[in-house]
C-alpha cells in the first residue's frame, strides 16, 4: 500500500515530537514534514530532515493556499492549520500516494485501548505501527470510507469507547476522495460536516489513541497564539456560520459549548436499497 505520514509543523524544528514518536512506535515508512514558506526556521527543518533517511521536507506557498482556500473570513489569519492540511492533501495526490496520514506535530505517544474483564484498559504502543497503519488502510481500501480519524483520551470518558464522525489531530485519508479543508478555525469540524453532508463518510474507530503534551509558554509555534488570542465564542462562531442548521451554542456555567444535532447523514446498509 502506497502511503506516507504528513506532519504539519511550524516554528518547531527541534521541539516537534511526532516524528520521533512515530519511529519509536515502529513506523518505518515515509514521513514528510510540511512547512510553509513563511516559517523562519526553514533552514533548521532542513537540518532535521537530514537526520532520517525516510524523512523529507516539503515547503508550500502559504500565499497561494490563502488565495485558493476558503478561510471563512474576509480578513484571514496567516497562522492557521487550514493551509497546511490542504497542502498535505495536494502534495499526497501529486506525489502519487494512495493514502495520507495527516497529523499535528505535537504528539507524544500512542496507546491501545481495549476492554479486559469489564474495564477499559490501555497499553502503550512500542512496536508494530506499520501493521497498525496497514490494518486501518486495508479497512479503508475495501470500503467507501474517505477518512478515518484517531480518537484522543476524551473519546473514552464515560465507560464506553465512542466512535465519532469528526476528523481531528490525526487522520487517515483516502487521497482519491477529494476533501477540501475549510475554515481557519475548527477546520476539522467544519470540514467533516461539509464533506459528510455532500457524500463522504468519515469515521473514528476507537482501538488506539494519541497523546499530546500540555503546551508550556516556553514552547513556541503551532496554533497556541491564535487560540489564546480568540475567545471560545469567537472560534466556535465559525462552525455555526458554516452550518447554522445543525450547530448551535449551548451556554453553561463555564461559558459556551458547541452543540451538534442532525449533523451527519446516516450510514445505512445497501440491503435497504431497492433495485
Amino acid at each position: 500500500m502506497n502511503y506516507a505520514v504528513f506532519i504539519c509543523t511550524h516554528g518547531r524544528p527541534y521541539t516537534q515530537t511526532t516524528w520521533k514518536v512515530l519511529r519509536d512506535c515502529g513506523y518505518t515508512g515515509d514521513i514528510i514534514l510540511m512547512i510553509d514558506d513563511e516559517d523562519d526556521s526553514g533552514k533548521d527543518y532542513v537540518d532535521v530532515a537530514h537526520q532520517d533517511e525516510k524523512l523529507s521536507l516539503h515547503i508550500f506557498s502559504k500565499e497561494l493556499y490563502m488565495l485558493a482556500n476558503d478561510s471563512g473570513t474576509d480578513k484571514p489569519i496567516r497562522n492557521t492549520h487550514l493551509y497546511a492540511w490542504n497542502a498535505c492533501e495536494n502534495i499526497a495526490r501529486m506525489d502519487g500516494y494512495e493514502y495520507a496520514i495527516i497529523v499535528d506535530d505535537d504528539l507524544t505517544g500512542f496507546r491501545y485501548r481495549y476492554e479486559e474483564e469489564g474495564h477499559l484498559k490501555s497499553q502503550p504502543i512500542t512496536k508494530n505501527f506499520d501493521k497498525l497503519f496497514e490494518a486501518h488502510l486495508d479497512y479503508m481500501e475495501n470500503s467507501n470510507i474517505s477518512a478515518l480519524s484517531v480518537a484522543d483520551a476524551r473519546n473514552y470518558i464515560g465507560g464506553q469507547a465512542k466512535y465519532g464522525r469528526n476528523m481531528n489531530t490525526m487522520v487517515f485519508r483516502k487521497v482519491k476522495d477529494v476533501i477540501e479543508w475549510k475554515s481557519e478555525m475548527y477546520e476539522e469540524m467544519v470540514t467533516s460536516l461539509v464533506a459528510q453532508q455532500t457524500g463522504s463518510f468519515i469515521f473514528q474507530p476507537t482501538f488506539f489513541q494519541y497523546e499530546t503534551k500540555t503546551m508550556s509558554k516556553n514552547v513556541k509555534g503551532g496554533m497556541e497564539e491564535i487560540y489564546n488570542s480568540k475567545s471560545v465564542f469567537n472560534r466556535s462562531a465559525y462552525v455555526v456560520m458554516w452550518h447554522p442548521s445543525c450547530v448551535s451554542f449551548d451556554a453553561n456555567n463555564t461559558g459556551f459549548k458547541l452543540r451538534k444535532d442532525n449533523a451527519f447523514p446516516k450510514l445505512i446498509s445497501s440491503s435497504c436499497k431497492k433495485i
Binding site: N128, K131, N144, T198, P205, C246, K266, S269
Partner: protein, 184 residues
C-alpha cells in the same frame, strides 16, 4: 451488527444499562425503522419560514430577495435519522435521488460494518503482541534486578577489590546486553 465484545455478564443499573465497561462500539450503520415517517417529519422549516416571511415583506430589490431566499435554505433542519427511515421505504427512483443528494450514505455490501469486525480482530492481535512484549520485558527486568542484588551480596563477601571489580564489570556487560535487546 449492534455491538462488538458485548459482555453478557455485565451488571445492570436501575435503568437496565450496563454498569461494567463493555466495549459496546456500534458500527455506525443506522438501522432504519419499520415505520415509514411522514415526509413533513424529515425536515424542520421553522427558522426558514420566519426568514422567508421577513424577506418577502422587505423593501430590498428582487435580486437581493432571490439571493436571501437561497441563503435562507441553510436554516432548514434535516433530521437524518428520519430521512434514513424514509429512504428505506421509498421507491427505487426516490432512493436514487436521495443518494445523489447525499441524504444517506450507503454502506455498499456492508463493507464498512464487516470490515470493522476484521479490523477489530487485527487490532486484538496487535494488542496481545504488545501485552506479551511488555510482560516479557518486565520479567527480564525483574530477573536482572534479582541477579544484581545477588551479585552485590556476593561481592561483599569476596576479598580482593580487583576481583570484585572484574566480576562487577562482567555482570554489567551482560546486563547492558539484555537491556539493549529489550530496547530493540
Amino acid at each position: 451488527m449492534k455491538q462488538l465484545f458485548k459482555d453478557e455478564n455485565a451488571k445492570k443499573n436501575p435503568m437496565g444499562e450496563d454498569t461494567k465497561y463493555s466495549r459496546a462500539i456500534r458500527v455506525p450503520q443506522y438501522e432504519p425503522s419499520k415505520e415509514k415517517p411522514k415526509l413533513e417529519a424529515v425536515y424542520d422549516l421553522q427558522k426558514y419560514s420566519k426568514l422567508m416571511a421577513k424577506i418577502k415583506k422587505s423593501n430590498v430589490s428582487e435580486d437581493e430577495k432571490k439571493f436571501l431566499q437561497f441563503a435562507a435554505s441553510r436554516h432548514i433542519v434535516f433530521n437524518y435519522s428520519k430521512i434514513a427511515d424514509y429512504y428505506a421505504h421509498a421507491s427505487a427512483e426516490m432512493q436514487e435521488l436521495m443518494e445523489e443528494s447525499a441524504l444517506v450514505i450507503l454502506d455498499m455490501d456492508d463493507a464498512i460494518a464487516n470490515g470493522y469486525v476484521a479490523l477489530s480482530e487485527k487490532m486484538k492481535q496487535l494488542i496481545e503482541e504488545e501485552k506479551e512484549r511488555d510482560k516479557n520485558a518486565r520479567e527480564a527486568k525483574d530477573i536482572l534486578k534479582k541477579q544484581r542484588e545477588l551479585m552485590e551480596k556476593k561481592s561483599k563477601s569476596e576479598k580482593s577489590p580487583s576481583e570484585k571489580k572484574q566480576k562487577r564489570e562482567e555482570f554489567e556487560k551482560v546486563a547492558e546486553a539484555v537491556e539493549g535487546e529489550e530496547d530493540e
